[in-house]
C-alpha cells in the first residue's frame, strides 16, 4: 500500500511546490513514501514551519531579565518571583471556527490550555480575542454566538476561568472571523517541563484520547490508499472533549510530581508527527515509534492517517527507563488511555514502524530547523496613501454630539461585553481579583502578596491604516492597561493574524507590524516570549485587516494595590492625565458617525507613553487613586462613561467641564494616546499633580464624580447631559438587544 507512486499531482495536492519536493528527495536521498510525503506536507506547511514569517520574527526582542523561556517551546516562561514562573501563550483558531464555530473555538481553547500544562504549569486563566463581521448580518451573529458558546463550553467545563479578552466587529472579518485565545499558567520555576526527548533507550509514552481520523487535511485525492469510506469517515472538524482534557491535565500534573517524566509535548497541529520530530530535534536525539501500539479509535487506520491525525486531548512524553509503570498507573487512575509506543534512539531521525515495517524514516531537522524559509517579496500597499488623506477641515461636526454619544454607547465595538463574559465562568479557581470590565484581569497568587495582571489588545483598524504605528499602539495600550490596573508590565505574547503571505502587500504590512511590535516592546522592556502566526485569513479574495493581537502579562507587587476603573464616591475629583490632540483619524467615532475608515491614526510618542505609565504607577503605588482607566476607543467621553458604568451603584455619574481650543468631537471622541482618567479624593489632588509634573505629564482637573446626572460641558455650553441610569442601560444591554 505504501508503494503508491508519488506523482506531481499528489505533490501539489499536498501543498508542496516542485522545488520543495525536490528538496525532500535530496534530503532523503530517495523518493518519499506516501506517509513521508504527508509528514513533510504538514511540517513544511506555513502553520508549522513559519516559512514566510521566520525571517521577520527574528527581529522581535525575546530576551530580558525575567525571561526563562522565549519563543520556540510550547509556551513562554517568565520569572514572577518567589520561585514561581508564569507560563503563557496565545494561539489562533480562526479557520476551524469559521467552519464550525462551536467546535472550532472549543478546540482552540483546548489546544492552548494543553500548551500551558504541557510545560508543567497549572493553567489559571484564559482570555479570548475575537473579531467578527458586523452583527447586522445573521451569519455573523451565528458565528459570534457559536464561538462564545464554544469557548464557554470548553473553558467552563475544564474549570479554567476566562477572565478577559476583547471583541471587535468589522466587515473585513465577515468571511474570516478571528478567534485567538491566550492561556496563562503558573509553575514552580524549577519544575518546568520541555518538549525535549532525551536519554537513548528511554520509553516514549502516548497518553490521552485515542487517535481517530480527525482533521487530516493533507490529501483529498482519490488514491489507492483511501477508499471512498475512509474519505467519508474523515471528519474535517475535530470535536473537543473538555472532560477528557480535564482528566489529562490533572493526570499530567500528578505525573510530573513523580520526577519520572523527562520531556513532554502536546499533540496539536500535525499531531503525532509534530510531537515526535520536534521532541527528537530539541533533544538532539531520535524517536522510534510503533504505530500498532498507538491507541486508536477506529479500525484499519493507515500510517498516513495515524501520523497526520489531529485528534484532540493527546500528549507524548518521554519517561525515565524503568519508571513507565508508575506513570501508566497514574493515567489509569484517571481512567485515561496510556501506552508505551516507542523509545528514544541515538540517530537524529523520526523512525516510524507499522507491522514490523518501516513506514517513515526522516531526519528530524529536515522537518524542523531545516524546513524551508522564504524571504517573500514586500511591497507597500497602494491603498495606504489614499486612506491616510483625511482632511478634518472638510469634516462637518455632526448635528448633535449628544446623539452621536448615545450611538457610540450602543455601538457593537464600544458597548458592554457582559453578554459575552457572563457566559464564561470567570471566577472558578477563586483567584479573579479584578472581574471582566476592567482594563486588565487580575489574578491573585494564593499564598503570595503579589498578583498577576493580563490583557489582550489589538485594534485592526489602526494596523490597517498604519501597520507599524498601529502595532506600536497595540503594545502601548496593552502596557497601559496593565499599568492602570496597578501592574508592572513584564513580558508579552502575540498572535499575528494576516491574509496571504504570498501577497507582497500583505507581507509588507507584516514586516511593518513586526518592526512596530519590536520597537515598542524594546521601549517598554517587555520581551516577546512566544506567539502564533495565522496567515491566509482571506476568503474569495476578501482579506482581513492585518490584525496583530498583543497579550501582555504584568505583576502587581501587592494585590491590595490593584486598581480598577470604577468611580467610587460622588465628590471625588476627576482628572485627565495626558494631552488631547486634534486627532480623529482611525477612530471609532469617525467610522460610526461619519462612515469613514480613514487615517492618520493617533500619534504615539514612546517617551510620553512611558511617562504617563510611570506617573500612573507612582500614583497607584502611593495609594492616591480611587480609580484609573486608560482612554482608548471612543475617546474621553467613552472612558468617563466606562468609569461610571463599572460601579456597582447604578447612580454613579460624573460631571465634567472641559475647556480647550480644539474641535469638540476631537475632545470628546478623539483617541489620542497616552492618556488616562483617574479619580481621587480632593485631599490627594495636589500630590497627584506633583507626580504628574515630575513625569512631565499634563494633568487637568476636569470634574467630579456625581450622582444621577451625567454631564459634559465644553467651553461654556453643555454637550451631554442625561440621567446616568438611562445611558448605562443603553450601554449594558446593547449587545443583548442586537443578538436577540
Amino acid at each position: 500500500m505504501e508503494e503508491q507512486p508519488i506523482t506531481p499531482a499528489l505533490v501539489e495536492e499536498h501543498n508542496l511546490t516542485a522545488a520543495e519536493y525536490e528538496r525532500i528527495v535530496a534530503t532523503l536521498g530517495r523518493t518519499p513514501t506516501l506517509t513521508e510525503l504527508g509528514i513533510f506536507s504538514v511540517m513544511w506547511s506555513e502553520h508549522c514551519s513559519y516559512k514566510s514569517s521566520r525571517v521577520h520574527l527574528r527581529r522581535l526582542p525575546t530576551r530580558g531579565p525575567c525571561v526563562i523561556q522565549g519563543p520556540g517551546e510550547n509556551a513562554g516562561v517568565v520569572d514572577i518571583g518567589e520561585g514561581e514562573a508564569a507560563v503563557f501563550k496565545i494561539e489562533s483558531h480562526n479557520h476551524p471556527s469559521f467552519i464550525e464555530p462551536y467546535q472550532g473555538a472549543a478546540t482552540g481553547v483546548g489546544g492552548i490550555i494543553r500548551d500551558i500544562f504541557t510545560m508543567g504549569a497549572r493553567p489559571i486563566a484564559c482570555l479570548d480575542s475575537l473579531r467578527f463581521g458586523p452583527l447586522l448580518d445573521a451569519k455573523n451573529r451565528f458565528l459570534l454566538d457559536g464561538v462564545v458558546a464554544g469557548i464557554a463550553g470548553y473553558g467552563n467545563c475544564i474549570g479554567i476561568p476566562t477572565v478577559g479578552g476583547e471583541v471587535y466587529f468589522d466587515d473585513s472579518y465577515s468571511l474570516n472571523p478571528l478567534v485567538n485565545v491566550l492561556c496563562l499558567g503558573v509553575a514552580r520555576r524549577d519544575q518546568i517541563f520541555y518538549g525535549k526527548a532525551s536519554g537513548v533507550g528511554n520509553p516514549v509514552i502516548y497518553v490521552g484520547a485515542r487517535t481517530g481520523r480527525d482533521g487530516i487535511h493533507g490529501a483529498t485525492m482519490a488514491s489507492a490508499e483511501f477508499d471512498e469510506t475512509s474519505q467519508e469517515r474523515r471528519p474535517t472538524v475535530q470535536v473537543g472533549d473538555p472532560f477528557q482534557e480535564k482528566l489529562l491535565l490533572e493526570a499530567c500534573l500528578e505525573a510530573f510530581k513523580t520526577g519520572a517524566v523527562l520531556g513532554i509535548q502536546d499533540m496539536g497541529a500535525a499531531g503525532l508527527t509534530c510531537s515526535t520530530c520536534e521532541m527528537g530535534a530539541r533533544g538532539g536525539v531520535g524517536v522510534r515509534i510503533e504505530l500498532d501500539r498507538v491507541p486508536q479509535r477506529e479500525e484499519g487506520m493507515t500510517p498516513y492517517e495515524i501520523m497526520l491525525s489531529e485528534s484532540q486531548e493527546r500528549m507524548l512524553m518521554t519517561v525515565a527507563a524503568g519508571r513507565e509503570g508508575e506513570i501508566l498507573e497514574i493515567f489509569r487512575k484517571w481512567d485515561l488511555e496510556a501506552a508505551v509506543i516507542g523509545e528514544v534512539i541515538a540517530d537524529g531521525v523520526m523512525h516510524v514502524e507499522q507491522g514490523g515495517r518501516v513506514v517513515a524514516r526522516i531526519p528530524n531537522t529536515a522537518l524542523t530547523d531545516d524546513a524551508p524559509v522564504y524571504e517573500r517579496p514586500l511591497r507597500r500597499p497602494a491603498y495606504l496613501d489614499k486612506v491616510n488623506a483625511l482632511n478634518l477641515d472638510r469634516l462637518a461636526l455632526p448635528g448633535g454630539l449628544f446623539r452621536a454619544f448615545k450611538d457610540m454607547l450602543a455601538a457593537a465595538n464600544l458597548c458592554s461585553r457582559r453578554w459575552i463574559y457572563r457566559q464564561y465562568d470567570h471566577m472558578v479557581r477563586t483567584n479573579t481579583a479584578l472581574l471582566p470590565g476592567a482594563d486588565a484581569a487580575v489574578l491573585r497568587l494564593k499564598g503570595r502578596r503579589a498578583a498577576l495582571a493580563v490583557t489582550t489588545d489589538g485594534n485592526g483598524r489602526y494596523t490597517w491604516l498604519d501597520p507599524r504605528r498601529g502595532a506600536m499602539i497595540a503594545v502601548a495600550e496593552a502596557c497601559r492597561n496593565l499599568v492602570c490596573a496597578g501592574a508592572r508590565p513584564l513580558a508579552a505574547t502575540n498572535c499575528l493574524n494576516f491574509p496571504s503571505p504570498e501577497d507582497p502587500e500583505v507581507m509588507w504590512t507584516f514586516a511593518e507590524v513586526i518592526d512596530g511590535i519590536a520597537e515598542a516592546c524594546a521601549a517598554f522592556g517587555t520581551p516577546i516570549t512566544g506567539g502564533n502566526v495565522s496567515f491566509y485569513n482571506e476568503t474569495l479574495g476578501k482579506q482581513i485587516m492585518p490584525t496583530p493581537v498583543i497579550g501582555m502579562l504584568g505583576v502587581i507587587d501587592d494585590v491590595e494595590r490593584r486598581m480598577d476603573i470604577a468611580f467610587k464616591e460622588p465628590g471625588h475629583a476627576v482628572l485627565l492625565l495626558g494631552e488631547t490632540l486634534e486627532e480623529l483619524g482611525g477612530t471609532e467615532y469617525l467610522e460610526l458617525v461619519h462612515g469613514l475608515k480613514q487615517g492618520p491614526i493617533p500619534r504615539l510618542d514612546l517617551q510620553r507613553e512611558a511617562n504617563l505609565q510611570g506617573a500612573v504607577r507612582e500614583m497607584i503605588g502611593a495609594g492616591l487613586l480611587a480609580s484609573c482607566h486608560d482612554v482608548s476607543e471612543g475617546g474621553l467621553a467613552m472612558a468617563l462613561a466606562d468609569c461610571c458604568f463599572a460601579s456597582p451603584d447604578p447612580t454613579m455619574a460624573v460631571e465634567v467641564t472641559l475647556a480647550q481650543d480644539l474641535r469638540e468631537d476631537a475632545i470628546l471622541f478623539g483617541e489620542s494616546q497616552s492618556r488616562a482618567v483617574v479619580s481621587a479624593p480632593d485631599a490627594h489632588a495636589d500630590r497627584i499633580a506633583a507626580i504628574a509634573a515630575d513625569w512631565s505629564v499634563p494633568c487637568a482637573l476636569i470634574g467630579r464624580v456625581s450622582r444621577d446626572v451625567f454631564a459634559i460641558r465644553l467651553n461654556g455650553h453643555t454637550l451631554v447631559i442625561d440621567d446616568v441610569i438611562s445611558l448605562r442601560d443603553i450601554w449594558t444591554t446593547s449587545l443583548e438587544t442586537i443578538l436577540h
Binding site: I99, E100, Y102, Q103, A209, G212, R213, D214, E232, R233, R234, P235, T236, V237, Q238, V239, G240, D241, F243, Q244, R297, E298, S311, Q312, D335
Partner: protein, 82 residues
Amino acid sequence: MRAKVYVTLKRGVLDPQGKTVQRAVKSLGFKEVLEVRQGKYFELALPDDVAADRARQVVEEIARTVLTNTVIEDFRFELEEA
C-alpha cells in the same frame, strides 16, 4: 401530524457524550454494551390538515437548516399521522 427527527453524529466524529455514557454503563456492570452513541431527538407537531408532501418538505428543510449541524451531524425523520 407529528414528525420525529433524529440527529446523530456522522460516522468518525468523536462522540464524547456517548463514550462517557458507555464507560459509566460498563462500570455499572452492564458488560453487554459495546458502544453508545448519543444524538438528539425532536418531535414536531404540525396541523393535521397539512398535505404529507408539504409536511415532508417542511420537516426536511427544518431538520437540515435548524436541527442539524451538517458539518458534523446527519439526520433522518419520520412522519406520523396523529
